[in-house]
Symmetry: C2
Subunit: 417 residues, 2 copies
């Protein structure tokens, strides 16, 4: 795909997005319904195309984890459909009046939610992102440019056909969803410089890929952040609760961003929680690494190095540090944490308040597991990720975060004097 | 200032910002009061230092407009003080609960406003920005790094002394406000790569400077946008109102971003408004440039070129285009406009609604002057600028836009299952 062809495609998408920003909720839901229907109708075709990607991936000896993420089954297509149904059922953010007031001069001001415009998704192997992201963008009134991983190109091609048919059958321009049908990496660097045609880039993938896009993009970037999450067990913690929550935060699903990577324990309670907790972790296959004080209580534990405190394991590994105070816990978190999700377990309101106030993160939990940081759990419906940046969106991101605002001012001839 | 010294200074500021994010409204107001007092006490000293900058600026034959922006007088110091008083009187955004709800599991979720952290202001000649920006950052709980124009370095140095004394007298760390005391431009390119220490860069100045910072910064950038604003007089406009508002939008203060640059007039009403309006513009010294149809009605008007439609004159120059419909006006605005402020004058609700919906801008005015797009006029108190970007803040930006959010989750031992 040469630059001229790319610009031509994107300018069509931009144009289509103008009209689409004001289509009714009914029409947008109709598109989502059509996609669901088409996924059912073309299920066999989709799985056949996906098999080509699997074949090439195996031939190239890609990792089994990657091949697993790449594979589409009856079940994964059903999951796409239920995700579509869920997004359909969510309220449409577009047109919501956030605030409204009248000034002494008589002008009435409304601040309303409007779509961002054209959103570019850059993602890796999982083909379901093609459907999920498109559904979120459509429901929030945005056009979308899709650039999936080269290893999923056959799957994505057929999924985009399914989407385009759904648009056409709803009477809308197929330019609203633009698929970048090129396996070459260089195309990404061209796209993220086209700020005249794209309003927002959302990269989903590894930390390195996201950093790279941030560094080169002239289009604003909104991204899912790395999660180096802590749980701090205060001296006044309920011991049973501390054990239950710390176990859950590490073990329930260790490979995700809101799982705990480091456990901080107040020295006055360490002897009461660590022996029992370490037994449970051991049974679950968790490898423990500890500071020298931890090693005194749990002699079998490997020494944690400086590198451990700043590592997002995403695995059944946990580093443990004993601290002298809530202040020390906060300091450790603000130094090594990624600003994602942080928890304190305590019955002491004063310590809890201190932790909540001074920990710099997108979400702070008092007596609850960091694993709860999730759009679904929070009751926001679907999410496109959890932002650890501070501008535009922080924490779990859903439909609202795919919108911007517009001031509408109603006057009767008012001027500036 | 070498890189090591710079990083050392910024890391102190970052550290100071942690504590400052939770100081009371009273303390923050006390700092603002202290600055006001110090401005009064050291007025003569400030004006003396400013005279050095003026002397060098004149010696270097800088433009009289720049020297004018650079000059501090009794009046400009009084203006700084009243701006400080205004910011003092505004509600503190920090700690505001934006939303709060409880989930079936029993967790209670709050979304609260918190400071962004460390904000870096990069600006040009006007030394009052040193005081105004610092005041806005302090009131919103942020630390601030100031990098003013090299031509204002003596003025800024003394103003920063005034600020640091105010911080010290309120019992706070003087590291909260960091002045980059270097006239070299290269330092800017070092600063905007230090994303470990700075959370947000706000450039204020020319379009080229802002674009340059956007292109090189690895820190998120929030900037005041260019204003290529239109007023569209619909065929169903109230003629007197159309003339009054269009005159105001161009003439009241032509050098600012929310002034009108292009007037669009429906062909059916052009004969009724243009002759009278052009007389008024002529009396005010406005140079008119028109499309061929405009020239038929106003034969003395110079021809507008393609370049005129995309020029932000910031001067007593106006381009005029006659259009066949609201649709054509919208198309022109979405092609040439900068997404700042756009107005329609009409008594026809349907045309107004169409314009409001399909014009892509931070603020859309129905029967009112684009000049009204201003934090003060909107009742938001002070503003740090008007954003034409779509992420984080769009339109006039005040204290709220210098904050981010944090989820606080209160549980009783809830875990993810």
């Amino acid at each position: 795909m040469d630059t001229k062809k790319l610009i031509n495609a994107l300018s069509k998408t931009k144009l289509a997005s103008r009209y689409f920003s004001n289509v009714s909720t009914e029409t947008k839901n109709k598109i989502l319904e059509n996609i669901s229907e088409n996924l059912k109708t073309y299920k066999d075709k989709i799985i056949k195309e996906n098999k080509k990607d699997i074949f090439y991936a195996e031939k190239k000896h890609l990792s089994s984890a990657l091949i697993d993420r790449l594979r589409l089954t009856d079940k994964s297509i059903e999951d796409m459909i239920s995700s579509l149904k869920e997004i359909e059922s969510l309220p449409d953010p577009v047109g919501t009046v956030i605030s409204e007031w009248t000034r002494p001069s008589g002008i009435r001001i409304q601040k309303v939610r409007v779509p961002i415009g054209v959103i570019c998704m850059i993602y890796e192997s999982r083909p379901n992102v093609t459907i999920d992201s498109t559904a979120l963008c459509i429901k929030s009134g945005n056009a979308v440019i899709l650039r999936g991983g080269s290893e999923a190109i056959n799957s994505n091609r057929v999924l985009v056909k399914v989407i385009k048919k759904a648009l056409k059958d709803a009477g809308l321009s197929t330019d609203l969803v633009q698929f970048i049908d090129s396996p070459k990496r260089e195309i990404i660097y061209k796209i993220i410089k086209l700020d005249n045609f794209i309003d927002l880039v959302i990269p989903r993938g590894g930390e390195k890929m996201i950093k790279d896009i941030r560094r080169h993009s002239t289009v604003p970037v909104l991204s899912h952040g790395k999660g180096l999450c802590h749980t701090y067990i205060d001296k006044d913690a309920d011991i049973d609760m501390a054990i239950k929550v710390s176990y859950n935060a590490k073990v329930q699903r260790p490979g995700v961003c809101n799982a705990m990577e480091t456990l901080l324990v107040h020295r006055d309670i360490a002897n009461k929680v660590l022996p029992e907790l370490s037994k449970m972790y051991k049974r679950a296959g968790v490898e423990l690494r500890g500071c020298p004080q931890t090693q005194k209580i749990l002699p079998f534990v490997k020494k944690a190095t400086e590198k451990d405190w700043s590592t997002e394991y995403l695995d059944l590994i946990l580093s443990i540090k004993i601290v002298n105070s809530t202040e020390e816990a906060i300091k450790h978190i603000n130094k090594y944490g990624s600003g994602h999700s942080e928890a304190i377990i305590t019955e002491n309101q004063k310590e809890a308040e201190k932790f909540i106030k001074y920990v710099d993160a997108s979400a702070v939990f008092h007596n609850a597991s960091t694993r709860l940081h999730d759009g679904g759990v929070f009751g926001l419906g679907s999410e496109i990720g959890i932002s650890t940046q501070k501008l535009h969106a922080r924490g779990t991101m859903g439909l609202n975060e795919l919108t911007t605002t517009k001031y509408i001012v109603y006057g009767t001839g008012q001027i500036r004097t």
